[in-house]
């Protein structure tokens, strides 16, 4: 007989005109070995088909099911149910507009991502095969390229909460540094020019919520620190 689990889930339907509210669910569900996403799918299947949330790969690769579980930003698909205090409170990622239930509007997040030009800028003639890197140069990108843009870090950052339109946020800054650190990129100076701004970069106060919540174990604060070091090197 599976145990009964209690959930409290954020609900919002813009078409109804009603304010957002928290709905309680109780479901017979064996938590052993299961993740939060499994429970959400079970609730949608058996209790409430109107519950809306994003998910795709359901194994921590696509980054589409970032939610706030018991006050912590996580990927629902890789967060074990075991050990979570009940009722398990599931809310959309903070500070972004809610489209419906747990689905947030990522436009602001992507706008910051686009702003750091997340692609290689190299004006040399295109080589026949590839642009080679030494193993050491390639190793510089470790801890940066793994980012899946789930938004857990940026939406847990108080600096982003206060200035979401101007502060790029940890995810975009990590991605910005990913291309600054790339030996094949030729736009370092322009990238640093863009980032050197009291809002875009310097709203980061080293709070490190981003490091705390990153489901891929990345360290945006360290990347931001490296951007600052490069700015200092360039200035003096």
């Amino acid at each position: 007989m599976p145990a009964q689990m209690r959930f409290r889930v954020y609900r919002y339907d813009p078409e109804s005109g009603a304010k957002p509210w928290m709905r309680d669910y109780a479901i017979e569900f064996e938590p052993k070995g299961k993740k939060v996403l499994d429970a959400l799918i079970a609730i949608k299947d058996t209790l409430d088909e109107s519950l809306s949330f994003r998910r795709s790969c359901r194994e921590g690769v696509c980054g589409s099911d970032g939610v706030n579980v018991n006050g912590r930003n996580v990927l629902a698909c890789v967060t074990p149910l075991e050990g979570l205090a009940q009722p398990i409170e599931i809310r959309p990622l903070p500070r972004l507009g809610v489209v419906r239930d747990l689905i947030v509007d990522m436009e602001q997040f992507y706008r910051h991502y686009r702003a750091v030009k997340p692609y290689l800028v190299n004006l040399d003639p295109e080589p026949e095969n590839e642009r080679p890197q030494s193993p050491a140069e390639r190793a510089e990108l470790d801890g940066l390229w793994e980012c899946i843009l789930c938004g857990c870090c940026t939406t847990s950052c108080p600096s982003f909460w206060w200035n979401p339109d101007k502060f790029l946020g940890p995810a975009a800054l990590l991605q910005g540094y990913r291309f600054i650190a790339d030996s094949r990129d030729q736009a370092t100076d322009e990238r640093l020019d863009f980032l050197e701004d009291p809002y875009r970069l310097f709203r980061c106060h080293g709070i490190m919520n981003c490091v705390e919540v990153c489901p891929k174990g990345l360290n945006p604060t360290a990347a931001i620190g490296k951007i600052k070091s490069l700015l200092v090197k360039r200035a003096f």
């Binding site: 980032l195 875009r200 200092v232």
Partner: protein, 117 residues
């Protein structure tokens, strides 16, 4: 409206905050040890402590570091928390008001330190 570019600023403030914190972290414990180790803290001892020019300058630099650090920190708080339609004026007023206040504190510190003769 045209999108404005980056301001190419922020690095100086960030560096000054770092530098001032290093000075405070070095000077304050040393000063505390020096004062605690002093044989007596009567008027004569206190006066002897602040008589050398080196001590006056070191203390003045520490006060300068505290004020600079505080002003940059306040500026961060204003940028973080003061935003509304008319908050630009409030932010600028706050920057300048606190800059004036802290400069006055600095001048006052000079007056106090150099009054010890």
């Amino acid at each position: 409206m045209r999108r404005v570019g980056g301001s190419r600023r922020g690095l100086d403030m960030w560096l000054m905050q770092r530098a001032s914190s290093i000075y405070m972290a070095l000077f304050m414990p040393l000063f505390a040890i020096y004062v605690l180790a002093a044989p007596s803290l009567d008027y004569a001892g206190w006066r002897a402590l602040f008589m050398p020019l080196g001590m006056k300058v070191a203390v003045l630099l520490c006060v300068l570091a505290v004020l600079l650090h505080a002003w940059i920190g306040l500026r961060e708080i204003f940028i973080d928390y003061l935003h509304c339609a008319r908050c630009l004026a409030l932010r600028l007023f706050s920057y300048f008001a606190f800059a004036t206040l802290y400069l006055a504190c600095l001048v006052w510190t000079v007056d106090i330190l150099w009054s010890v003769k």
